[in-house]
């Protein structure tokens, strides 16, 4: 089971009508999807680093030297993929009724006393990368930390060079922000 790259490009670019999409959804899945997906995305990028994993509409984990970093398609780099990329983004918190009503007017508006809608932008291209709706005071969510080495080694059978420990390193970022004693 396999699709041509052109089929997949049409799918990703929204060129297929719903009946055809439904047909693809209903058929058995294609085993080479990931490889073709990454090839298609890589061809679109203005930069050369190898894509290891797309993690959003604009964001990719890429191989840069011996490191693996999160990179926007515009070229902006967010640092090690094991640190929540959001901590290196720009944030706009909709924390008042006025700000919330720009998106959710009138009766559609959540309560600003309880709910904060956080928007994370790329500092390079201003793309809206993630909208996060959470109770006020909730830590910024690290949506996804991939086990990249297990994925490439165990599932794809193509181990990556420069193995990395699978652990959340975000605290290194917020640790730097803590007020220094004294």
């Amino acid at each position: 089971m396999s699709y041509s790259k052109q089929d997949l490009k049409d799918l990703y670019e929204g060129k297929l009508p719903w009946p055809r999409i439904k047909e693809i959804m209903s058929r058995p899945k294609d085993d080479d999807r990931f490889e073709k997906y990454v090839e298609i995305l890589q061809e679109r990028m203005p930069w050369k680093e190898k894509i290891l994993l797309p993690i959003g509409e604009h964001l990719f984990i890429v191989e840069k030297g011996k490191e693996r970093i999160v990179k926007c398609d515009c070229g902006h780099e967010f640092g090690d993929y094991r640190r929540n990329w959001k901590l290196s983004a720009l944030i706009f918190a909709r924390d008042t009724r006025e700000k919330l009503e720009e998106v959710y007017p009138g009766i559609k508006c959540p309560w600003p006393e309880f709910c904060e809608v956080r928007e994370f932008y790329c500092p390079g291209c201003a793309a809206l990368l993630k909208v996060e709706s959470v109770p006020v005071g909730y830590p910024i969510i690290f949506d996804f930390l991939p086990d990249l080495d297990a994925f490439y080694s165990d599932w794809l059978g193509k181990p990556l060079p420069h193995k990395k420990e699978f652990r959340d390193m975000s605290q290194e970022v917020t640790g730097e922000w803590r007020p220094k004693p004294g």
């Binding site: 929204g14 604009h58 009766i107 959540p110 309880f114 500092p123 109770p135 005071g137 803590r178």
Partner: protein, 731 residues
């Protein structure tokens, strides 16, 4: 080999079979210890025939039930499902229909075995069992499981189960999903794997109990008769299948079907997802401080945090962890741990195992870690609590779980499978219907929420109701015959949408007027709508749909309005304007509507919202927006404000056009605005941290954090680590 005293395989007791089966799974990691499955592979045509014969029998049984039953839930909404189970209670094949119960039906069987029914109660050919207690296995008491053993020459070889949702279970008013139940007795009648008949016949004394205990005994008993007829039909079909394929083949093949599905599920996980750690948060809100309640401690407002972590492990397992969840409460919304499996079943069947082969094997690679004791999902005194309506606390959990899995599909390249969903609000009623009968009433048609956007196209309009994939929400005219209501309108709401490069589906709101009602009380139903905090359900830059609301409109003088031909309420319209309707009082419930009296000509309004959009809204293809505009699904305001698309309506051509130049300018300005509004996260972090240190959060939120920290050291540590709080910090 001489038979032992048991009714199971080779004279074993069912308990021995269950213990053996569990041991084999534990020791080998494979269902029933099947290390070399071959029965199905040796003759795939025979195997396919075998599976399809069972499946078609279950589907035919389900149709039989629909024909016998007279209840609108069965006949109109088809909220029922059938399944075939091994002697130990393991799901082999499911019919079409509501897939919540894949494992739960069998868990009732397992419970009977564990509780020594074989000896103490007796299990014989033709015995009829009924169960609806979520503490044993189930989601809410409205779901009734009719269970029938299948014997072959004196040996119990399988079970067949039918589940039906009932409108009346004798619960405290109003309705069958009572949000007013604050004590266990309020849940209604409970049948704890009760033997309600023998020799294929329902006992008369059981019927008497129903006749004396329910407002709608006829519908309840008709459903039982429908379920019993369906079960008998399947039983006889299974005997025919055994006759044709042989008992040995039947026993081995049913077990191999489970093991085969377990292996397939692991293969699907490895083919479609990415291993790693996924995290999200689901708040659960409940506002009961002012409601009438029999048990006074229930009169309390509370928010509970439900952090969720899904780990996809390298071996292809999914593990769900709710560490950090807050405490239980005196309300109807405490799910049992079994109920969580119901939520997971329905999500798994529709995201991964949708090829008609779903069974226990679909769930064996999944694990739900036992939630902390005395949390909302694991109250230690669950037997003393109401469990009548656990969906409000649970349904968004699995909405967001689908989003997590959808994220994974997207990253793997299966963008077309990206998906999430939401639930919404509704109303339930008790009182005298238009025929003078006092009874509970719950229409089965609020499931019209827009599904989340996919990674390749907009979400399906009104297609986001995961609970039952086949719902057609019934024929509304039938509900009008059955309840004292008239449907005023069902309107697609442009403002219900989760905006994004691809938008969510559009939700449909409903308005129905109470008509020929002489006495009624009402409350909210389903209840996932009482969210002052909207669910975190937007993907990759898409927004979640907005707030979900319920309203009650009470006209000042209905007859005058009609006589003067003044407009009745028939649509929500612009969300900023609805509350200013001039001819009546609008009661606005941004929380679960409490129990209250309603009157003839009052209007129920359900203002649904959709799941999440996907991608940056200002990257939406203008042509998609033009199509939506031409179809009347959106408007100029949304196009400009949310998508930065400039549009004009051409009166002559009767269609919309996009101004490409102006659109480019709007989008450039929006990017500029973002760069000027956005601040480095460090700056935000310092301000938010100070707010927390100064304890300036709303008291309800502080109590929510306190509750989670009380139950979880891990959550407490993570919270303090993230915000850099001192060790002795406490809310």
């Amino acid at each position: 080999m001489a038979r032992g005293r048991g009714i199971g395989d080779r004279g074993k007791t069912l308990k021995q079979m269950l213990e053996d089966n569990r041991r084999l799974l534990r020791e080998s990691g494979r269902y029933a210890g099947i290390t070399k499955p071959h029965i199905l592979k040796d003759d795939p045509i025979k195997a396919e025939l075998f599976h399809s014969r069972i499946m078609s029998s279950l589907i035919a049984g389900r149709e039989t039930c629909k024909q016998v039953s007279g209840s609108p839930y069965v006949r109109e909404v088809a909220e029922l499902c059938m399944g075939l189970y091994t002697p130990e209670g393991d799901a082999v094949v499911q019919s079409t229909g509501i897939q919540v119960h894949v494992r739960l039906m069998g868990d009732n069987v397992t419970w009977m075995i564990e509780n020594n029914y074989e000896e103490d109660v007796g299990i014989q050919d033709g015995d009829l069992f009924l169960s609806n207690d979520p503490v044993i296995a189930g989601v809410h008491a409205a779901d009734n499981y009719d269970i029938l053993p299948i014997f072959w020459k004196g040996e119990l070889v399988a079970w067949v189960c039918t589940v039906i949702m009932e409108m009346d279970i004798g619960a405290v008013s109003p309705g069958c999903m009572p949000c007013t139940a604050v004590e266990r007795a309020g849940d209604g009648l409970k049948f704890d794997c009760e033997k309600i008949g023998s020799n294929d016949k329902i006992r008369r004394d059981f019927e008497v109990r129903i006749e004396m205990g329910l407002d709608l005994p006829d519908l309840f008993l008709l459903d039982r008769k429908g379920a019993v007829a369906a079960n008998i039909r399947v039983r006889e079909d299974i005997k025919e299948i055994i006759r044709e394929f042989g008992l040995g083949y039947f026993k081995k093949a049913t077990r191999e079907l489970i093991e085969e599905e377990r292996l397939n599920q692991i293969a699907r996980i490895k083919q479609r997802t990415i291993p790693g750690r996924y995290r999200d948060i689901i708040p659960f809100e409940i506002y009961m401080s002012t409601i009438p309640a029999s048990w006074l401690p229930s009169r309390k407002d509370m928010i509970r945090l439900i952090p969720m972590q899904m780990d996809i492990l390298p071996e292809g397992r999914l593990v769900i962890d709710f560490d950090g969840i807050g405490e239980w409460g005196w309300h109807a919304y405490n799910p049992t741990t079994k109920a969580l499996w119901g939520g997971l079943s329905i999500a798994v069947v529709q995201t991964l195992s949708y090829d008609g082969r779903a069974n226990l094997g679909s769930l064996l690679p999944c694990d739900i870690k036992t939630p902390p004791v005395d949390s909302l999902f694991n109250p230690s005194q669950i037997k003393k609590l109401a469990t009548g309506n656990p969906w409000p606390s649970m349904i968004d959990v699995f909405s967001l779980w689908c989003g997590m899995l959808g994220t994974s599909f997207y990253m793997r390249g299966f963008r077309e499978e990206t998906f999430n969903y939401v639930s919404g609000s509704g109303w339930q009623l008790a009182g005298y219907d238009q025929f003078g009968n006092k009874r509970p009433m719950l229409a089965g048609g609020p499931g019209t929420f827009g599904a989340g956007a996919t990674g390749v196209c907009d979400g399906v309009d009104t297609g986001g109701w995961l609970a039952t994939p086949e719902t057609d929400v019934g024929n509304w005219e039938v509900w009008e015959l059955f309840m004292p209501e008239m449907y005023m309108s069902r309107m697609l709401s442009p403002y219900s949408v989760g905006y994004g490069r691809y938008r969510s589906g559009i939700s449909m709101g409903t308005m129905d007027m109470l008509h020929r009602l002489t006495l009624g009380i009402t409350s909210g139903a389903i209840g996932a709508a009482h969210d002052r905090i909207i669910p975190n359900i937007g993907l990759f830059g898409g927004y979640p749909g907005g707030k979900r609301n319920s309203f009650l409109v009470r006209y000042r003088n209905f007859q005058d309005l009609v006589n003067n031909r003044l407009p009745l309420v028939h649509e929500v319209g612009h969300p900023k304007e609805f509350l200013s309707y001039p001819h009546g009082e609008i009661m606005y419930f941004d929380y679960m509507p409490p129990c209250m009296e309603v009157f003839d000509k009052d209007v129920y309004v359900v203002d649904n919202s959709s799941a999440g959009g996907l991608g940056d809204p200002i990257e939406r293809e203008p042509a998609l927006q033009k199509t939506d505009l031409d179809n009347g699904l959106t408007n100029e305001e949304i196009s400009r404000n949310m998508y930065c698309i400039a549009v004009h309506y051409d009166e002559k051509a009767k269609e919309w056009s996009v101004d490409d130049g102006e659109t480019r300018k709007l989008r450039a300005a929006k990017r500029k605005e973002r760069l000027s509004r956005g601040v480095p996260v460090e700056q935000y972090w310092r301000q938010a941290r100070q707010l927390i240190l100064d304890k300036k959060l709303d008291p309800l939120l502080q109590e929510a954090y306190r509750s989670s920290m009380k139950l979880s050291q891990g959550f407490t540590r993570d919270y303090k680590d993230f915000w850099g709080l001192p060790d002795d910090f406490a809310f």
